[in-house]
């Protein structure tokens, strides 16, 4: 079956004076209609870059250096500017991280909503306005008629966040990419069906959310789950993963996680771990130490 979105071996690099830096190093995942997927990992792992790469909107000097992003049978990395414009904000919307910076300070909310609809639909301004009103009501902005004529600075941060969401939903897109909608992993585990864990530009583990959260296979995922305060007595020290994620300039050879990994062995410092497939292709983990699930027994 064809997936709604299929990211294949996507690679993003940043062209710098001293050479190219690899920000996303060959990631793959897929998404079906009305499926929710969470991309988790520490800051700098490449989550936002992945989001921007899907809509082909990576800021310079970044660029997609390999792989494909298949959406409805079309490769988004190879589309013309105009074809891509028609996809952005229409079929695939993105909700940015910081609602305080996302809205243009000198244009009214109404203008910023109506223009989005007019860029993609042949409708009148009045029709666009009524769609905007409907979406504002949906995100529970009180007295939306009055609010349409106001500027971003007249709204609180929370309201601006909801307006940005309303803008993303204006065209009823097939895919909504939310950049850092929450920093809480337990929230992600509650609202998503699928999860992918990123570390230093790579997906290290992915699978159905409940399986990954309840039975993490990768030591990094295990560390993230253990760091959740939920399982602790109040006042007890949080379980942190020791060390820091490497910067893009000095990713260690072998498995990028090995300097912080409690299970690290010689092979981890020498070879990049391949993906091990568990549970009939629904779960994948990139770790030398992970064992295929004995109950299912497939590799």
């Amino acid at each position: 079956m064809q997936h709604l979105l299929e990211v294949n071996d996507l690679e993003v690099k940043f062209g710098l004076r001293f050479g190219d830096l690899t920000a996303i190093n060959g990631i793959s995942f897929s998404l079906d209609k009305s499926e929710r997927m969470g991309l988790v990992g520490e800051s700098g792992a490449g989550k936002s870059v992945t989001g921007f790469a899907i809509i082909n909107l990576i800021s310079k000097p970044g660029f997609i250096s390999g792989g494909r992003v298949m959406f409805n049978g079309r490769d988004l990395t190879a589309l013309s500017d105009e074809a891509m414009r028609d996809i952005r904000g229409n079929h695939i919307s993105m909700i940015f991280q910081d609602p305080m910076m996302t809205l243009n300070p000198v244009l009214t909310i109404g203008t910023q909503m109506v223009e989005t609809l007019l860029a993609h639909r042949s409708i009148t301004r009045t029709e666009a306005k009524s769609i905007a009103l409907e979406k504002l009501k949906k995100v529970q902005i009180p007295s939306p008629e009055k609010r349409l004529a106001q500027y971003p600075h007249e709204f609180s941060g929370g309201m601006r966040q909801r307006i940005v969401i309303a803008i993303a939903l204006l065209t009823d897109p097939e895919i909504v990419i939310a950049d850092e909608p929450t920093t809480a992993l337990d929230v992600v585990s509650q609202v998503t069906e699928k999860i992918a864990v990123m570390y230093a530009g790579k997906i290290v583990e992915s699978g159905p959310t409940d399986q990954v959260v309840n039975d993490p296979k990768h030591p990094y995922t295990q560390g993230l789950i253990k760091a959740l305060p939920g399982s602790l007595q109040p006042g007890a020290k949080l379980n942190q993963i020791p060390g820091m994620m490497p910067t893009l300039t000095d990713i260690p050879p072998g498995c990028a996680f090995n300097p912080r990994c409690p299970l690290s062995d010689t092979i981890c410092r020498q070879q990049e771990p391949p993906f091990i497939i568990i549970n009939g292709a629904t779960r994948r983990v990139a770790c030398h130490m992970a064992k295929p699930d004995p109950s299912n027994g497939t590799t």
Binding site: R85, N90, P105
Partner: protein, 323 residues
């Protein structure tokens, strides 16, 4: 918005008070009206009596208040040379200067906006690189040299444009305007370009750098993510934000341009306030010099106040601040 306007006007009045104080001090220290009025043969005692009669022996504050009161009523004293009220002398010269500055401002707006925006959008293009190099050169060439080079090329060599004077003017209720005759416009071209030449590179660079900064912001990136057409992103989303700091600088620079008219008017024999100012200096016409200072100060203050109010109209965050 109303409170904002009131506040700006109050500030403007305060600045005018300071200017008038400076103007009066100059007059008080340097100018001697008695010397202007009487000849060598008048005895010191008679001079002293005249001083008393004119109130020149009154305390500084009393004299200043009298000066300020007269100034508010439009009386800035008599020009020693012209034997006419100083303000009337200036009023006769003002249209020429105002039209020159207006012409230069138009040139700056219509060249710097498109060029600045283009070179911000395509910073790597050959045109942008050329413009940047050329603008560095432009900033460093003085006005009088630009003026002379323009005259040499367009008047002497090509013989396309007149090299001095205002040409044919039309009298509109006492305002002699060069805008309504072909000859007047032709005469305006070279001086306007010469006057604009100092500010133009500055504005191209300012608009370019502001626009480039705006194009990097999150809200512009969000506009791309919304799938807007690029014309809309550039000319609505980015342009409006670029304009805000540019408007403020423009207001200040327009004021400064009045000062630069002295050079431009001299080179082009343009019978405006700047030309008159130099003549007044040569003739030690203190009253006229002080009146010039007051008038130019007032123009500066009015232009800046108007520009600030325009800024308030463009920038929505100002409105709430003034409420």
């Amino acid at each position: 918005m109303f409170a904002f306007v009131v506040r700006r006007i109050t500030q403007a009045i305060f600045v005018m008070l300071i200017i008038s104080l400076v103007g009066f001090s100059i007059k008080n220290e340097i100018g001697d009206p008695v010397r202007d009025m009487v000849g060598e043969r008048v005895t010191p005692a008679e001079r002293e009596a005249l001083r008393d009669k004119l109130g020149l022996n009154d305390p500084f504050v009393t004299q200043y208040l009298r000066f300020a009161k007269n100034a508010v009523q439009g009386d800035l004293g008599l020009s020693f040379f012209h034997k006419k009220p100083a303000l009337a002398v200036i009023a006769a010269k003002a249209p020429a200067t105002l039209e020159l500055v207006f012409g230069a401002a138009l040139i700056i707006i219509f060249i710097s906006l498109p060029v600045g925006i283009f070179s911000a959008i395509y910073p790597q293009s050959a045109f942008s690189r050329f413009t940047m190099a050329f603008s560095t050169l432009g900033v460093s060439v003085p006005v009088f040299l630009t003026a002379i080079v323009l005259i040499y090329i367009f008047s002497v060599e090509l013989n396309w444009l007149p090299s001095y004077g205002r040409g044919e003017t039309v009298n509109l209720w006492g305002w002699h305007s060069g805008f309504f005759t072909v000859d007047g416009i032709l005469h305006l071209i070279l001086p306007s370009f010469a006057l604009a030449s100092i500010m133009l590179p500055l504005f191209i660079r300012l608009i370019r750098s502001e626009m480039m900064e705006v194009l990097e912001t999150e809200y512009i990136k969000f506009a791309w993510a919304k799938g807007l057409r690029r014309k809309r992103i550039w000319f609505v989303h980015a342009f409006k934000n670029t304009l805000l700091p540019v408007i403020t600088v423009f207001g200040v620079q327009i004021g400064i341009m009045f000062a630069f008219t002295i050079l431009t008017e001299t080179v082009f024999q343009w019978q405006g306030m700047g030309f008159m100012f130099l003549e007044a200096v040569e003739r030690s016409d203190i009253s006229l010099l002080v009146a010039y200072l007051m008038v130019v100060g007032a123009i500066f203050v009015v232009v800046n106040t108007v520009v600030d109010i325009i800024y308030g109209l463009v920038n929505p965050t100002i409105r709430i601040a003034g409420r």
